[in-house]
């Protein structure tokens, strides 16, 4: 019996073998919990220990690893986030997908820190998880249902985590849905489908006890207040949602337009967060435990449904030259129901449009033509007609039809809606990200390069170091079980109060020099051994009080560094080469703004700096010395 001396953990991980219909406990020690606390980092450890060479993501050998974080069920704000990791059908590398639905809390309340699924079920199956164990149940009646229908039809009580038709049909970017939130990226839904698993249902009643209950409660209470007061988490996100960024991105040449041929969209106002709020919003809502409430509620076909995030608006709006907001609301709903990543879907469609435009593939899709998008989305989910090809993703399409220079993907996963020629550090992030073209796993540098701070978006100076620090920060934040939006208070209010005032202007100029300081600090493992002041990063205090694990800013970054490097190691074992840390030619070779010679991503230079600052060798592999320092055994 694997128990734990730490607070906030159940102490139990189970491994479900679909082929043999067995359930075993998966051993995980407290020492491992301290090093790989939860979420994507714990999942990376499990996958690293079990998958050592290339596999077919649709084979029974692939693992689905669903992990919770220590702060799940600990009464912290924004603490419902859980993770599902696997080897991605899009990239062939490690992918982790994060989700704000209740399923993670449910498995933890049922007594499990994580659930591992291997093998392949003979029959269409769903799994029922309670504190009494796991049942393999017949999913025949559920197969073919949308994500909402399937969750309603599962007769068992509890929280559900299901795929839609897209996952069943192995669409390479199919997602998994818990409630209304999706574990969107990387194609985890297709891996479920390949195992004949429609989904899971979990019911639990008892959360683990924290190490210092009253101490934790005080941190949680103050943390919640800070989030409510901060202009981003307390005003922008609840009022306008992530959609608020449309205007901001357009202003700063960051709004992907016309398949990333521009960073500005003439009709951006029609698809802005302000228009969404003024003309379409029913109300805002949010995940359980979240005081931010960034989720939109809108009307589609007379029904109140979840509204789109900025990524979907950009990729189904400006990027395909569409300024009809209602159509974006409709398509977002269909993709949620069919269970597909809106980012990969949107970018694959825009790539197909450009192939059509250039006469390279006659597929009937055109920029600005919106009357056939709904049927295209459905055709993808059911692999009908051109949908069968679109379901493969933009990289595989480019391998077949050409146009790799404008297939907007990295490592095979499509890029987010930020046009990186407007923020080169962000471009580095897309290229280097372990799971492929991800803005978050890539460090989300666009926040510094325009959206919240105004660091020079074209300079390469200090960008690698900043990218690394933010990657590590966000990696650790997610692993703890929190929504990444809790890191927005990391940039203190005084910097944001007067963004074009004298003080902030100076800070923007010297911010990249912070990169130099960071480079120095990275070499000292015991530096930064304090909690950041002013509730900039309460995560460290919360994790300490919840688990008893010794945690501070330095250790938090180290934790993220460990997780990030572990993911990288998995990828190296699966065949990752330096050529995979790349961006499409358009972003490296063509100027976004003809009169601005720096408006393209100087990737080679950035990658070299990145490898060096990460302590990787010239082939982009973590060095033995680094792994030793991080306590990762090879």
């Amino acid at each position: 019996m694997s128990k734990t001396k730490l607070g906030a953990y159940t102490g139990k991980i189970i491994k479900i073998d679909l082929t043999n219909k067995t359930v075993d406990e998966y051993p995980f020690s407290d020492e491992e919990r301290e090093l790989y606390i939860g979420g994507k980092i714990m999942a990376a450890k499990i996958i690293y220990d079990n998958i050592k060479s290339k596999i077919d993501p649709f084979s029974p050998e692939n693992m689905i690893v669903i992990t919770t974080g220590p702060l799940n069920t600990m009464g912290s704000p924004c603490s419902s986030r859980f993770n599902v990791s696997t080897i991605s059908p899009l990239t062939g590398f490690y992918t982790s997908s994060n989700c704000g639905g209740n399923f993670g809390m449910a498995i933890k309340r049922a007594g499990y820190d994580a659930v591992i699924i291997v093998g392949k079920a003979e029959q269409k199956t769903y799994l029922k998880i309670t504190d009494d164990g796991v049942e393999f149940k017949d999913a025949t009646e559920l197969w073919g249902l949308t994500t909402t229908e399937a969750q309603q039809k599962i007769p068992d009580k509890g929280d559900k985590f299901v795929i839609g038709p897209a996952g069943e049909n192995l669409v390479r970017y199919a997602c998994v849905v818990s409630g209304e939130r999706a574990a969107g990226r990387g194609g985890v839904g297709a891996v479920f489908g390949s195992k004949n698993v429609k989904g899971l249902v979990a019911e639990g009643h008892k959360a683990p006890e924290p190490y210092d209950k009253e101490g934790l409660r005080k941190v949680n209470e103050k943390w919640t207040r800070v989030l409510k007061k901060h202009p981003t988490t307390g005003v922008q996100l609840p009022e306008l949602g992530t959609a608020a960024l449309v205007a901001s991105m357009h202003a700063r040449n960051l709004l992907a337009t016309n398949n990333y041929r521009s960073g500005k969209y003439e009709h951006f106002e029609d698809i802005s967060g302000e228009t969404l709020r003024d003309d379409y919003l029913v109300r805002n809502t949010g995940c359980t435990t979240c005081p931010i409430r960034c989720q939109r509620v809108v009307k589609v076909e007379g029904k109140e449904v979840k509204g789109p995030e900025v990524e979907t608006i950009g990729l189904f709006g400006s990027n395909i030259l569409n300024n009809d907001m209602q159509s974006i609301l409709d398509w977002n709903y269909y993709m949620d129901e069919l269970g597909m990543d809106t980012i990969s879907c949107g970018n694959t469609i825009s790539f197909a449009m450009e192939l059509n435009e250039k006469g390279m593939w006659d597929n009937g899709l055109s920029f600005g033509k919106i009357d056939n998008i709904k049927e295209t989305i459905e055709d993808i989910a059911y692999r009908r007609g051109i949908g069968d090809e679109l379901a493969e993703g933009s990289k595989r399409l480019a391998l077949k039809y050409g146009g790799m220079e404008f297939a907007m993907q990295a490592k095979g996963m499509e890029l987010a809606a930020y046009e990186p020629r407007g923020a080169v550090g962000h471009g580095l992030g897309y290229a280097i990200s372990n799971r492929g073209g991800c803005h978050l796993n890539g460090g989300y540098l666009v926040v510094l390069e325009g959206l919240m701070m105004s660091v020079d978006p074209y300079t390469t100076f200090g960008k690698a170091a900043l990218c690394i620090m933010f990657q590590d920060l966000m990696e650790a934040c997610s692993a703890g079980g929190n929504c990444l939006f809790t890191t927005y208070a990391f940039l203190p209010s005084f910097l944001l109060a007067k963004p074009q005032g004298a003080v902030t202007t100076v800070v923007n100029k010297v911010f990249t020099k912070v990169g130099l300081v960071l480079k120095f600090l990275f070499r000292i493992p015991t530096a930064l051994a304090f909690h950041l002041p002013g509730y900039m990063l309460p995560h460290t205090m919360a994790i300490r009080k919840a688990t008893g694990i010794h945690m501070n800013f330095g250790r938090f970054l180290r934790l993220g560094e460990r997780g990030y490097n572990l993911e990288r190691l998995i990828d190296v074992n699966l065949g990752l080469k330096p050529e995979d840390d790349d961006l499409p030619g358009r972003l490296k070779d063509e100027l976004q703004i003809p009169t601005e010679p720096k408006s393209k991503v100087p990737l080679e230079k950035l990658i070299k700096k990145y490898y060096r600052t990460r302590f990787w060798d010239k082939e982009g592999r973590p060095t033995k010395a680094l792994l030793k320092r991080l306590k990762i055994k090879e």
Partner: protein, 135 residues
């Protein structure tokens, strides 16, 4: 009695998620939650879970800390087992019933239904003498 301080409530819905009795009412347009006193069993789980510490109670409020069944008084009617929201009471019809501590969430639902006063609720105060929270 437990009640929601509406000024502090941030509409996160966690109280409703953890409540074993579905006693939280959502005022959707006001973005606030409220405890329905008719359904509330004063278990205090929402109180200890609230991210904003927005749930309040009287200074002398008590909650169940542990539940035990008096073997001699139990007649095995199974009512408590059926009422338990977490399946934490085991026992056969006409047999002695016993609390499974790992599953018990100390909600007190079983206490009310026992007609033989066989269930003993060990309670503790929410606030200690110095006014500090125990829960």
């Amino acid at each position: 009695m437990f009640f929601v301080n509406k000024e502090k409530c941030v509409d996160c819905g966690y109280c409703a998620y953890v409540c074993p009795f579905g006693s939280l009412i959502h005022h959707v347009e006001d973005k606030k939650w409220e405890i329905d006193p008719a359904k509330c069993k004063q278990c205090g789980i929402c109180f200890s879970s609230c991210i904003a510490s927005a749930i309040e109670c009287d200074k002398d409020q008590q909650v169940v800390e542990k539940v035990t069944i008096n073997e001699e008084a139990c007649i095995g009617c199974t009512l408590c087992g059926r009422k338990c929201p977490t399946g934490a009471i085991s026992g056969m019809l006409k047999g002695k019933h016993v609390v499974i501590e790992e599953k018990c969430i100390h909600c007190g639902a079983c206490i009310d239904v026992c007609r033989k006063n066989a269930i003993v609720a060990h309670k503790k105060p929410v606030y200690n003498e110095k006014g500090k929270r125990n829960v």
